[in-house]
Symmetry: C2
Subunit: 341 residues, 2 copies
């Protein structure tokens, strides 16, 4: 029921995903009188979907505390997450209120053993191909141990999504020299060198422009800076697009040139199409939840389902549990610090 | 002597600036045997420049502490800043080692009364026109009082550079709702509402995508996030440019279209040309220092001189002193907190 457009985007999005992967089963949580007619018009989804009715839907602008008050145990958002907890679903996908989704996911699924805080991991298009960037805003601030956890979790996701045996991991910082940046990031860098795992290769610090360059497969950062980097990149891409559109309308030569090169322009806009990389995976919980952009369309929502399908199929939660277990053996100090704090 | 290319960029850059503003006088600090021949070939600069010889130049990769050890009182960088302190220069412009420049500027010029930490303010091209963004990396972390100081300083610069009587100021955050983000940013928001000055209009929180949109004239953020936002935007612009270039080479239709629309493409690349907005102004010191990008060319270095000319001509340091004085009267608690800390 969530997102800026509700079921009119979510349900057709599920249809696209059902067509692409016919082995997917869908549980749709929400108002049956709205969902029913939408689903019955969509052949692939109708075969694969079951509607679980609830009257309660989380509003987009409510604070997490408000949402929990009226939405716990009853709302479509809660029920979708709870289906993951109960093992009835492998992943919950929502375009709804981000704060409420994170709060409910944390309460309902609880943190995985050895992880203190969740992170949102997203796919970032790069000049080389794609990277995983986390945290895009699940929590504000991160100590060294959380940054190390994110490196481990992001690498586990990269092995699944990109199929790299030993993905490269970088820490986002304001310079590449070892003495640069905040103490938490420098300490995380030292720990990651010490960890020296076969699961990923720690590259060192990366800077903001390394995101688009694709210098590493996984970029780890604290959620405040990560969220600002994500939105700055989205804004800059939109700004460049606007400049181009305006310039191509200015003269008849430009207009003609635009017509001739239209296919090339289409290639570029597909490369930076935010719908293709839609879907932030909540990492660190005992179950998988994917957050779709609230303003996306059916194609974008289908991408969020696709990424959920991939991480569920390859059992990301178990992969993370194994990797975190290995890192705890390699870095016993982190475990000790956690026990104290 | 600084920057990736040293005097071969700095000196021709000064020539461009001297041609544009014939009332400028230049003091060039560095190795006379290198600078002399370069200057004598440039007619506008030769009339306006005096060379002050020193053998010592700060290396680009030294830590600030190292640079201070061998460069204090003797290096070209120190002497340029000291000329500002002594009143022999109105502004120092350098393409050299950023950390060393900031450290020397702080030691030599000292902080202005009522300001705890410096900030680097840069010009950001937007869909509306241009904004000022600070801090781009002078200091890491910022408490509420420093964020308020940056709002006051950035607004003083916006009045000079953009000529707006009452510029709008926003705080960069991960959401626009009042309860979002870190406590320092929320507290700064409360203080800025309370300040309610005629010098600028406090708009509220802005997000990463508001930077390119130009939602406000001045965007205030802590230096870690600001530096990452800046480099992410630069990287994204470069990435989009690469995508376009590759796409326009793919087919003969696209190549022909590109040729026809070449003027339009040029308009776009000029709009996002980093050389045009080169030059970060160090704010909060008893004197003006401008940091040019180390990798820029002569045109870019001339832009850094231009921005230095503007802020010097309109006495930015005095304007900031007045504005900070007014804010201290309006927000006595900040002054009290500072006295305690």
């Amino acid at each position: 029921m969530g997102g800026d457009h509700g079921p009119t985007v979510v349900v057709p999005g599920a249809e696209i995903a059902a067509r692409r992967r016919p082995d997917t089963q869908f549980l749709l949580f929400g108002d049956e009188s709205v969902l029913g007619p939408l689903v019955s018009a969509l052949p692939h989804l109708e075969r694969a979907a079951k509607i679980i009715h609830t009257d309660v839907a989380i509003r987009m602008d409510d604070k997490p505390s408000q949402a929990l008050r009226y939405g716990r145990r009853h709302s479509s958002m809660w029920l979708a997450i709870d289906a993951v907890r109960q093992g009835n679903a492998d992943v919950a996908v929502s375009a709804g209120n981000t704060g409420a989704l994170m709060a409910m996911a944390k309460i309902c699924l609880k943190m995985q053993h050895g992880i203190d805080r969740p992170a949102i991991a997203g796919i970032w298009p790069t000049l080389r191909s794609e990277s995983i960037v986390l945290d895009l805003g699940a929590s504000i601030g991160a100590d060294a141990a959380h940054l190390v956890d994110m490196a481990v979790m992001g690498a586990a996701m990269a092995r699944i999504v990109f199929g790299h045996e030993r993905p490269t991991v970088g820490l986002l910082n304001v310079g590449v020299e070892e003495m640069k940046g905040v103490e938490e990031v420098r300490e995380a860098g030292r720990l990651l060198r010490e960890l020296n795992t076969s699961d990923f290769e720690y590259h060192g610090f990366v800077e903001g422009d390394d995101l688009g360059r694709g210098t590493v497969d996984v970029v780890v950062t604290e959620g405040f800076a990560g969220n600002i980097a994500l939105k700055t990149a989205e804004g800059t891409a939109r700004q460049m697009g606007e400049y181009l559109r305006a310039a191509m309308r200015r003269t008849w030569r430009a207009q003609l040139g635009y017509l001739l090169a239209r296919a090339a322009f289409r290639v570029v806009s597909e490369k930076v199409d935010p719908r293709k990389v839609n879907g932030g995976v909540l990492l660190g919980l005992n179950g998988l939840v994917v957050k779709s952009h609230g303003g996306t369309d059916a194609e974008g929502f289908a991408s969020a389902i696709d990424i959920g399908y991939d991480v569920a199929r390859h059992e990301l939660v178990s992969r993370i549990a194994e990797a975190i277990g290995k890192s705890e053996i390699a870095l016993p100090d982190i475990v000790a610090d956690r026990a104290v704090s």
